[in-house]
């Protein structure tokens, strides 16, 4: 993985010292809350319902064991013993004291971690495919480019006060696991007809109040021009993006107002002045960064491993886990091991300090010291030798992290919602807990098959409900919690935005409504059809009829 150099470490040390001074001045009243708020937000520190919340960046979702242990130590020492992994491949701590924040930043910096640009109207933590470097369908590791973007965008003076926050995602694979079509800028590495690798550039995707699928403004960009082209996009956005209304300030609104053709024309015109200039990437520099992502040297082992062959006969639970939670690795004889943080009835994305520490050990023992965070609030050990799977499975089972529910009903994405978030209309996590418990039976989940439920507590859509196969959005009506339900959203290739299935449903009926919808799918589905396929074939109307009949 990427190793910090002296420059990175010195920069973080300066930031910690600066923040320590700012906090001290706030606590003694030299700085007012109004003066201090933007400074703390620049360091990822929010004030939520019950306490301060610290959002720590996990750049492109990659951690090593030492870093995971550092996060566990923060959970133990400064929080309530757990952390919450988010849909932006970050981790949040919910119970932070302002007075402790500088020490926490120092502890993070000691593990080459930070909370910079996890908030505010800047270029946020760049996200990537969680299987980067391991996926079979990958053309090139997207994290090389995420890191180049990180270096370019970190405290970039021109882009520190954008009209609004700005999110970039990169995938290097054929299948889009990074939801690049729903980011301000999405980048897809692909190979053109001449065999060259470059980027397809998408602009103006996003969720929130106005969900939009990003538009391709350049089908093929040579890799060396990446930063020049991004800079051109940012300049056009900075110049024309609306600053008068935060709801209309994201680049998706600008792309919509200008039209994607005009947006493309302006970006390309801006790029003309930049291309081939200082921002052109030096191949040596790219090679040097690529070297830091080289990953472990894995020895291909095409022969089936006895332990893996034999164990399913002995323990069918292992087989279920192997089939559900692991996928083939690009190197034969290895698997990508997914760790859903979705035990039945538990808050999605939460991990205890003890789990993080044990996972750090397992990553070091079996996973080449590499752990990934996914935007689906799960973790991944991307490089595991098949022969090690039985031992790893037993250890994970002991931690409660071997539930074979990846991509199933109980693998729910939920934002913090009204239990923690000051912006929420309704709770999210308890809805997820109640649905997960209702569908606890794994055989039933497997029969239902792939189904992605996403629950947001307000229109900010932190849980990406618009692109859930079943999307659930909390709304408030006369002081009570209600939920709007959409069907048929999809974040990856074949991206779509879910369609509203009917009027908002009161909290007391939301779990039953999900059950009614799923029963409808089971009744309507044709052999081999996933939930999403059935919804796309029959539309939402038959589901609405069933909900009306049940209401």
């Amino acid at each position: 993985m990427y190793q910090y150099d002296q420059h990175d470490r010195a920069f973080l040390a300066d930031r910690v010292a600066l923040f320590r001074d700012q906090v001290a001045r706030r606590l003694t009243g030299v700085l007012s809350e109004e003066q201090f708020r933007p400074l703390r937000l620049q360091n990822g520190l929010y004030l939520q319902l019950h306490a301060y919340m610290l959002r720590v960046a996990v750049p492109y979702g990659t951690l090593n064991g030492r870093q995971l242990r550092a996060l566990a130590a923060i959970a133990r020492r400064y929080d309530r013993g757990y952390g919450h992994f988010t849909t932006r491949q970050n981790i949040q701590f919910n119970w932070i004291r302002l007075a402790d924040a500088p020490d926490i930043m120092a502890d993070l910096a000691a593990a080459d971690l930070h909370a910079i640009q996890t908030s505010g109207d800047c270029i946020r933590n760049v996200t990537a495919d969680q299987w980067a470097g391991a996926a079979r369908d990958e053309i090139e590791d997207p994290r090389i480019w995420c890191e180049i973007i990180r270096q370019w965008s970190t405290v970039h003076p021109e882009f520190s006060f954008l009209p609004r926050k700005f999110k970039i995602a990169v995938t290097g694979a054929a299948r889009d696991r990074a939801a690049v079509r729903f980011h301000d800028i999405g980048l897809r590495l692909l190979r053109n007809a001449d065999g060259e690798v470059g980027f397809e550039v998408l602009v103006g995707g996003g969720l929130g109040r106005t969900p939009v699928i990003g538009k391709v403004i350049r089908p093929f960009l040579p890799k060396a021009e990446l930063l020049a082209y991004l800079e051109a996009i940012m300049r056009v956005y900075n110049r024309h993006g609306r600053r008068d209304n935060p709801y209309k300030a994201r680049i998706k609104i600008l792309v919509n107002d200008l039209g994607s053709d005009e947006m493309r024309r302006q970006v390309e015109a801006e790029w003309e002045g930049l291309r081939g200039g200082d921002l052109r990437l030096d191949p040596d520099l790219v090679a040097e960064i690529a070297g830091r992502f080289a990953g472990p040297a894995l020895t291909p082992d095409p022969a089936p491993v006895r332990a893996v062959e034999d164990l399913p006969l002995i323990d069918p639970a292992f087989r279920r886990w192997l089939d559900a939670n692991t996928v083939a690795h690009r190197v034969p004889g290895h698997r990508i091991v997914n760790l859903p943080l979705k035990p039945i009835g538990a808050p999605p994305g939460d991990a205890s300090a003890a789990q993080m520490e044990a996972l750090a050990d397992l990553a070091e023992t079996y996973g080449h010291d590499d752990v990934r965070v996914t935007h689906e609030q799960n973790l991944v050990l991307p490089h595991v030798r098949e022969g090690d799977l039985p031992a790893l499975w037993r250890a994970l089972d002991g931690l409660g992290l071997a539930v074979p529910n990846l991509g199933l009903v109980s693998d729910i994405i939920a934002c913090p919602g009204l239990d923690y978030c000051t912006l929420a209309n309704a709770r999210s996590i308890p809805v997820a807990q109640a649905i997960s418990t209702r569908f606890a039976d794994l055989a039933r989940q497997q029969d239902i098959g792939e189904l992605r439920i996403k629950i947001s507590g307000c229109i900010n859509a932190c849980a990406h409900h618009h692109v859930g196969h079943i999307g659930i959005l909390g709304v408030e009506k006369a002081g009570a919690e209600f939920y709007q339900v959409t069907l048929g959203g999809e974040p990856g290739e074949g991206a779509s935005i879910g369609e509203l299935v009917g009027p908002a449903i009161p909290a007391a009926r939301i779990v039953a409504a999900v059950e009614t919808i799923i029963a409808g799918y089971l009744a309507f589905r044709r052999p081999g059809e996933r939930f999403l396929d059935t919804v796309r074939r029959v539309g939402v109307a038959p589901f609405r009829e069933r909900l009306d009949a049940a209401a």
Partner: protein, 104 residues
């Protein structure tokens, strides 16, 4: 969710500056975590008085963002779910223990 729901019975809440904890202006003065010990204003004038005390506390860097929380008549129970969660903590642990309790 609206911070305050209309009501004539109120307490004042804020977040303590140093740790962010949700606190309530106490009858005995100062801020307490237990809403049961909060000073209750039953008329507009006394609510204004409590807010003035809170503003002075803000100026002393003790708390931030004070506001009124409307209570149900006759009990120290905020009308808004948001404020009940703020006063008593997240509901997720209770639901993890017994999911049939949702949506209590």
């Amino acid at each position: 969710m609206a911070k305050t729901r209309t009501g004539s019975i109120n307490v004042v809440t804020a977040n303590r500056l140093a740790d962010g904890q949700a606190v309530f202006l106490a009858a005995a003065g100062g801020w307490v975590a237990d809403i049961g010990r909060a000073a209750v204003a039953t008329e507009a004038a006394s609510a204004e008085r409590l807010l003035a005390i809170a503003a002075a506390s803000v100026a002393r860097q003790e708390v931030v963002d004070p506001y009124l929380v409307a209570l149900a008549a006759g009990e120290v129970r905020p009308l808004a779910l948001r404020e009940r969660i703020r006063a008593h903590g997240p509901t997720v642990a209770a639901i993890a223990a017994d999911a049939t309790r949702y949506p209590e």
